[in-house]
């Protein structure tokens, strides 16, 4: 399989240098690590919001570094958790003394490395709190998790926590609003094709020419059902039903929706999905307050999408509306 890389061994390292070169005024790399931080970190008197995870999900997480979102983003190897020592370096570099919120996607390696790092910095006197995002409604346990997987809903957590921290809120308050998102968000994804990791160079899983996988994870891990190809509307119906069944929203509830591309999906197709998603919500008398469409959390070159729905109240709306200035997301 053709890839625009030099060497699978150095792809993450080279990507990070390229990102810094693209946004030299806003992000910098901590030396001898795969951690990027806001250029002005630590920001005085502000709670820091940090995240991280395996690479291959770009723009997650480093694309969300900047004012109103993340202070630090640690990049592991492709689909592999960052190590605790790198996370420790990130937390220390971002802490102004006001404390640090760790935003963790629910994968065993991620959770263990973040919590180990958190415990290590706590011994040095840094205050930390965590939220574990587990928005994937598709599967209860998976190859990489106990419990549900953390996927695209994480971006909403970055936005809300980052905005609350920018207001000067305490660590407890920042954690509270982040958890509010976690408690009110659901996501389900699907794949038309497998991703191809740089190391392996061939599809992670076999999907026939006329097959799709519903409930796919962001690492190509199995979903809930392999089925014959369906139309965009049929796929949208399946994903949306699963998410709404999980959320059990009341009529009139306001929501934010995300139609997220997995990396290899044309925007044209994402908009087609979004069109049907909004029809479905309308039929159920659920009010879309904001609809996001684009590549927010990808799975390398996988073709497919995920649908995220998050119930919002006045507080979450105002935090989602607050300014953000990052490479991948700008709100003014």
């Amino acid at each position: 399989m053709k890839k625009l890389i030099n060497d699978a061994e150095t792809v993450v390292d080279e990507m990070l240098d390229g990102m810094v070169a693209a946004y030299p005024d806003s992000v910098r790399r901590l030396s001898d690590t795969q951690v990027l931080v806001r250029d002005d970190a630590p920001v005085d008197d502000k709670v820091a919001v940090v995240s991280g995870g395996g690479s291959g999900h770009e723009p997650t997480h480093a694309g969300y570094l900047g004012e109103g979102m993340l202070d630090g983003a640690a990049a592991g190897e492709v689909f592999t958790s960052p190590t605790a020592d790198e996370l420790e370096a990130m937390i220390e570099a971002c802490d102004s003394g006001a404390g640090v919120l760790l935003v963790i996607k629910n994968y065993e390696g991620d959770v263990m490395n973040f919590e180990t790092a958190g415990e290590m910095v706590e011994m040095e006197g840094t205050e930390v709190a965590e939220v574990v995002v587990n928005d994937d409604v598709a599967v209860e346990d998976s190859l990489y998790t106990s419990g549900r997987r953390g996927v695209c809903g994480t971006i909403l957590v970055h936005k809300v926590a980052g905005a609350k921290a920018a207001e000067g809120a305490s660590l407890d308050e920042v954690q509270r609003v982040a958890q509010k998102v976690v408690d009110n968000v659901g996501t389900m994804g699907m794949a038309l094709t497998s991703c191809v990791t740089p190391e392996k160079g061939e599809p992670t899983f076999d999907l026939g020419e006329d097959e799709i996988e519903l409930g796919i994870g962001i690492h190509g891990e199995p979903g809930v059902e392999r089925t014959e190809t369906m139309s965009a509307d049929e796929v949208t119906d399946e994903l949306t039903e699963a998410v709404l069944d999980d959320l059990e929203l009341d009529p009139g509830q306001e929501v934010v929706t995300i139609v997220n591309g997995m990396g290899g999906t044309p925007q044209m197709e994402l908009f087609v999905v979004n069109r049907r998603l909004q029809e479905l919500l309308d039929e159920r008398d659920i009010e879309t307050w904001d609809a996001w469409v684009g590549d927010y959390m990808t799975s390398l070159d996988m073709a497919g999408c995920s649908i995220t729905v998050c119930a919002v109240d006045e507080e979450l709306k105002s935090l989602l509306d607050a300014p953000a200035e990052t490479p991948a997301m700008t709100v003014r």
């Binding site: 592991g76 190897e77 592999t80 958790s81 960052p82 190590t83 605790a84 020592d85 790198e86 065993e108 390696g109 263990m112 490395n113 919590e115 180990t116 415990e119 290590m120 346990d141 998976s142 190859l143 990489y144 106990s146």
Partner: protein
């Protein structure tokens, strides 16, 4: 050489011996992990322990706490995944128990803290088919042997290794409830857990190293210390 310097030297030897053993068992561990995991345990552990051995052999006149902490930090960064925090992170935290050197008491405290950190992090109990199935009987046996039965730490460690061995056998017939193998459910039955297995190898090397050091330099002059320094390697 002070007794604690001796303990540091013994700990360096222990890390080196563990590295050699894991390298020797690399394929076996990978085979075990292929059956119920993702086939990376042998490679990751071998790489991590070799790096740890390199790191501790570079230390100058280290005390035991420094050796254990350095090994743990190296495992954290080199092994990564879930095994880095479980094997390495727990070592880092437990090393604090050796701050005042190696005694029978600090060895027990070390073992208990190590177990506690593994269980906290992995949220696993006995019967989940994980490294905990080897560690729990080993640590409890070690503690009881030292505290209740008043055995020499080296004898206590030998009993702990035997207990860990039983724990490893116990992982074969049970169904995985934690870790990657839990995804397989009943299909995990009949396979020996790679984490419990590598934990046993580590303990066997600690015992062998401790025994070696006792043979060569039992510090009779330091007999006032509650326990021989060498018993230490125990602790990891």
């Amino acid at each position: 050489m002070s007794p604690q310097r001796d303990a540091g030297t013994a700990a360096v030897a222990a890390v080196e011996n563990v590295a050699a053993r894991i390298e020797a068992e690399r394929e076996h561990l990978t085979d075990l992990d292929s059956a119920i995991g993702d086939a990376d345990h042998g490679g990751n552990m071998a790489r991590g322990w070799q790096a740890a051995a390199d790191a501790v052999s570079d230390l100058e006149d280290p005390d035991i706490e420094t050796v254990v902490k350095t090994a743990g930090k190296t495992l954290l960064s080199e092994v990564g995944g879930a095994s880095g925090p479980l094997y390495g992170g727990s070592l880092v935290f437990a090393s604090a128990e050796l701050e005042d050197g190696l005694t029978a008491e600090s060895a027990v405290a070390f073992a208990e803290t190590y177990l506690e950190k593994v269980q906290d992090r992995g949220d696993a109990s006995v019967g989940d088919k994980t490294m905990v199935d080897a560690l729990v009987p080993a640590v409890h046996t070690f503690k009881k042997s030292v505290e209740t039965d008043d055995l020499h730490p080296l004898e206590a460690l030998a009993k702990a290794v035997a207990a860990a061995e039983h724990g490893v056998s116990f992982t074969v017939p049970i169904r995985a409830a934690k870790g990657r193998a839990s995804y397989l459910g009943w299909r995990s039955v009949g396979h020996q857990d790679p984490g419990a297995t590598s934990t046993l190898y580590i303990m066997e090397e600690l015992l062998a190293t401790a025994a070696d050091h006792l043979d060569t330099d039992v510090p009779s002059a330091d007999a006032s210390s509650p326990t021989s320094p060498d018993a230490e390697a125990t602790e990891e």
